[in-house]
Symmetry: C2
Subunit: 302 residues, 2 copies
């Protein structure tokens, strides 16, 4: 697959994800809650997690309606985590995707509720009511599997646990192992779950699924290493969020622990690991979207 | 069923719920997150929602292991909502169940994360990994049904939506209809879902399920009316939380809208509605635990 073909695929998928978010995130929730939720998730972001779900589903020729629900659900979890993370008691950030953060726009209480409701909505989206014909849009056994993956990636052993380590690490030196453990949970768990959720939408041999799990772990970590690099090399305008904030907050990063050059080599090594895992999966050309995504994660500039 | 029989049943169920929470809420989550989660949910509360799940499951002779997971999940959602609701940007309360609130004990950031992780854990608990024999402890179709009920009750159309109305109502007069709508969502949705989750654990005719849904709606509202009455008639020591805070916060309550005497009559009328719904369900003596619970909700003094 060449870059142009990937771009066409990715633009179409992002448009479909935006349309699904537009449809499923309520505008009529009471007392402004729906508006705050929509502000927090519509119209922004690279939609990397949805793309991973959809590319992974494509690699196993899985159910596209199921994968679209998984894509939206994982993006809702990601978006809620940003809403809460930006609040004054956490990172206290006022700018996100080039716009005022949710609590700046709607107040802290509404931001907290919007995040809470976005998390619940992720699980609503994964349990669609049966359609008029009575047939479930997503088989219940697949609903249960997707929810199991997502809840574990979002919770204490995954994203929330990583954020707790992050909180505890401010101003305290971490070694590379501790930093990796933090990021495996904080960012990596949800990226890896995205890959596994997409794979769950089709039939896949256990060995291939394990290889995709390794792929997800490698790009999950690569994503964070690149984030840390961009935090020191890019301006806020390019990032759409406050640059240099990890340094300002005295947070350990891959750049502070390894140095810039070693962090860059590490990102390339993780890209290679991701490609090696795809070769090991035996999926061949079916995994070409995932292969390009690994490159995009490492080459991105914002 | 007499009061003594009910008390024996209820003590045994609460002990089983406590043991399940003890087992499923992690003590080893990173960086103190597990401790904050456990502090927020163990060792306190009346466990009314779990009792409703288990009594409703009993009425339909449903799967007890499934109902125990549903009971723990709904309690985790309830407990997380209290952790977030107590924070300074919401109700700013420092006392809960006679102890310092989670943010007082562990800081605001950890309290927010603990609440977030408790919500995710509720959905983890409802998607148990298959046991050693490979057989699922809860059938996937039931997992999906329980999650659908819980996520919708917790989210924008239910609890979180009710809290948003609550936020917007401070200092603004609500009429009885608006107050009812707020409480149907804020407290009622989760209590009603508890009843429906228990019923989903067994086989039940649609008409009986609809009657149990009406029962759940009636006691959901009764619970809140009684809460408002207790807020003005009881001391903080009895409640284990700050008394009079709704009045102090200038929040509309059933007492402020209807007056104390009419609020008391309303609670009794809702109790009668709950009993009438049970009679309509045709479950007869099988629903006797639910019948006693309706009385307990209205007669409670804390």
């Amino acid at each position: 697959m060449n870059g142009h073909e990937f771009d066409l695929w990715s633009q179409a998928q992002v448009a479909a994800v935006e349309a699904a978010l537009e449809r499923w995130v309520p505008s009529d929730a009471p007392a402004g809650l729906g508006q705050a939720m929509r502000y927090g998730v519509l119209d922004g972001g690279k939609r990397l997690r949805p793309l991973l779900v959809l590319a992974s589903c494509d690699a196993v020729a899985g159910s596209v309606p199921a994968a679209m629900r998984a894509a939206v659900a994982v993006e809702l979890i990601h978006a809620y985590s940003l809403v809460h993370d930006d609040m004054p008691c956490m990172d206290n950030d006022i700018l996100r995707r080039g716009k005022p953060t949710v609590h700046v726009q709607y107040g802290q209480a509404q931001a907290m509720l919007a995040g809470d409701a976005m998390q619940a909505l992720a699980f609503e989206v994964l349990t669609p009511e049966p359609g008029p014909g009575g047939a479930p849009e997503v088989a219940p056994v697949l609903q249960a599997r997707l929810i199991s993956l997502l809840a574990r990636a979002a919770g204490h052993a995954g994203m929330a646990g990583g954020q707790a380590i992050d909180l505890a690490s401010i101003g305290r030196p971490l070694d590379e192992g501790e930093l990796r453990d933090m990021h495996r949970r904080k960012t990596g768990a949800l990226l890896q779950a995205s890959v596994l959720m997409g794979a769950a939408c089709g039939d896949i041999r256990p060995e291939a699924r394990d290889a995709l799990s390794d792929y997800g772990a490698a790009i999950g970590l690569a994503f964070q290493v690149v984030d840390d690099i961009l935090d020191v090399t890019q301006a806020s305008e390019t990032l759409g969020k406050t640059a240099g904030k990890d340094h300002d907050h005295n947070k350990p990063t891959y750049v502070s622990v390894l140095g810039l050059a070693a962090a860059r080599s590490h990102a390339q090594a993780l890209r290679e690991q991701a490609h090696a895992a795809l070769r090991r999966s035996g999926l061949g050309g079916a995994a070409s979207l995932l292969a390009v995504l690994a490159d995009k994660v490492v080459e991105r500039e914002s």
